[in-house]
């Protein structure tokens, strides 16, 4: 288990030293082909997508990537996808469905891009469509949160059959920064907000948002990714053995049971 506090983890996953989505793709899959464009408006480099082999199984991969040096990060708008990024992801998922390929997603984003152009092109609609379509996608979907799971911008790649959290990865309904400025009108209270929001990998397992936590070992990145690869292979094989109905019912139920409320005095 990570020994870092929730706030330290947030800083860790936001660091420029953190491994990027494309590095996981290159380490986990072989014979990869990168595919571009949403066929609607543009190519969004913040979301990398394509086809590769997971062991001997062809899969579609989709990875959010925050970028490496400054020009690359700017090109990828610091890993905040535009609507085109989500539409490209959906196009590749539909393609995966046509050819019976499982889909493997890697999440690492502060959130969907906040800007006038994103709004004009339907940022909300793009995410909504992904949630709707992923709920019915007839091939297995597995998501690994490798860094920052930022709200709807992360969920749009995480309506999955299994979700894994890296040890220090976080997943949150709102950025702790945004939360602090709403509650205390003070964006410097990020650390307090981080604790209130319960964003750690352990929290995700507790609230049934993630199945398991993956140990981090960046000293031996290749070894760590080999472990992820093996876990993905066994998951994909298990999910491929299910009937379509069982697969989709399982995905629905996975989200259906999440919620804590009272119904006529009894807590659920």
């Amino acid at each position: 288990m990570s020994e870092l506090s929730a706030y330290e983890r947030l800083k860790t996953v936001r660091s420029n030293e953190r491994r990027r989505g494309s590095e996981y793709v290159n380490a986990i899959f072989t014979d990869t082909v990168v595919l571009c464009g949403d066929r609607r408006y543009a190519e969004d480099p913040a979301v990398m997508g394509g086809i590769g082999y997971l062991g001997d199984i062809p899969v579609t991969f989709i990875a959010q990537d925050k970028g490496f040096d400054l020009p690359d990060r700017m090109r990828k708008h610091f890993g905040c996808p535009m609507p085109e990024g989500y539409r490209k992801a959906l196009r590749l998922m539909k393609q995966a469905e046509k050819f019976g390929r499982p889909v493997i997603c890697f999440v690492d984003t502060l959130g969907a891009f906040c800007g006038a152009d994103g709004e004009e092109r339907g940022q909300g609609q793009a995410i909504a469509e992904n949630l709707f379509e992923m709920m019915g996608l007839r091939v297995p979907i597995i998501t690994v949160v490798i860094g920052e799971g930022g709200s709807g911008g992360a969920l749009a790649l995480a309506v999955a059959d299994r979700v894994y959290m890296l040890e220090n990865a976080v997943y949150s309904v709102i950025t702790p920064d945004g939360c602090a400025s709403i509650i205390w009108k003070d964006s410097s209270r990020v650390e307090d907000a981080t604790d209130c929001l319960h964003i750690t990998a352990e929290d995700m397992v507790k609230y049934h948002v993630a199945e398991d936590i993956i140990r981090e070992d960046f000293e031996n990145f290749g070894v760590m990714c080999y472990g992820i690869r093996n876990r993905l292979i066994s998951d994909v094989k298990a999910l491929l053995s299910l009937s379509e109905k069982k697969l989709l019912d399982g995905r629905y139920e996975r989200f259906r049971r999440i919620g804590i409320y009272e119904d006529g005095g009894s807590a659920q």
Binding site: G124, Q125, L131, F132, G136, E262, G264, Q268
Partner: protein, 283 residues
């Protein structure tokens, strides 16, 4: 628009009459005039002084749409809990309950509109900005499941500040949960109409507000994903005045039509009639 509500009396029980006659005041955000509910009800909650649309409480919205005596409420006892011990959340829930007389930010059930049966849910902006937490997510999910089972179309009257951050990640997951229920209802060949009202933002726009077969909006409603202030702060430039309005969304192709309140019942009724027999219409 911000509405200030004062409650004069509250019903002892909700079970008997879904539309108790409560009197309260609503303030017009535009001209600051104050009006009573009974004064506004007959005029579709349009400000008699300046003509601005005042946000309609959920129960009144359903009452205005439903044929008399046709509304039957579902899951009326479902409510939120402060399971994360989030600062200030318990107070917010209690204040919302006492000021609105509701237990939840969404009211749901079945009704008829000019004889056409449908399931309906309406959100109430007075209740913690109608943000979507577990209770809202569960009620909406159950409604779509009920509608799918009973082959009913769904009309959703949406407004929301987005996901309810006081419930952390569990509130984000409600977006996926509700989307799953919408998907299953859709796969059963049934109609879902979304009516977007002021304001529909954040996680709501990024999920069920944008998943309808037909998407209607009230005039001049704020509809968007990211907050205007956040965008202006991020980009450092001012946005046009019509940015993220219903009219802006219509121009950009994201909604089907803008429906004034006076025409809403007729439009909803016609669309329900056109879909009355679902897929069997063509046979």
């Amino acid at each position: 628009m911000k509405i200030h509500v004062r409650l004069f009396s509250r019903p002892k029980t909700q079970a008997a009459d879904p539309f108790p006659d409560i009197e309260y005041e609503l303030k017009c955000a535009k001209c600051k005039s104050t009006h009573t509910r009974s004064e506004l009800y007959a005029g579709n909650f349009i400000c008699p002084d300046c003509g601005a649309y005042i946000r309609i409480p959920a129960r009144d919205r359903i009452r205005m749409l439903a044929d008399e005596g046709s509304f039957s409420e579902l899951d009326a006892k479902l409510t939120s809990t402060d399971f994360l011990d989030f600062p200030g959340y318990r107070d917010k829930i209690n204040k919302a309950k006492s000021s609105t007389g509701e237990l939840c930010a969404v009211v749901s059930g079945t009704m008829r509109v000019e004889g056409n049966p449908c399931a309906v849910f309406a959100m109430d902006s007075r209740f913690i900005m109608a943000s979507m937490g577990s209770a809202v997510g569960e009620k909406i999910t159950r409604l779509f499941e009920y509608a799918a089972k009973n082959k009913l179309p769904v009309l959703g009257v949406l407004c929301s500040g987005g996901a309810r951050m006081q419930e952390g990640i569990v509130s984000l997951m409600q977006m996926a949960k509700c989307s799953g229920a919408v998907r299953r209802h859709s796969d059963a060949g049934l109609l879902y109409m979304a009516l977007l009202t002021d304001p529909t933002t954040g996680g709501m726009t990024a999920s069920i507000a944008m998943e309808g077969d037909i998407t209607l909006a009230e005039p001049n409603a704020l509809i968007g994903f990211a907050g205007r202030r956040v965008i202006e702060q991020t980009t450092g430039s001012a946005l046009p005045s019509d940015f993220q309005t219903s009219e802006f969304l219509l121009d950009h192709g994201f909604i089907d039509m803008i429906v004034p309140r006076g025409e809403l019942r007729g439009t909803v009724s016609l669309l329900l009639r056109q879909h009355r027999h679902g897929k069997e219409n063509a046979r």
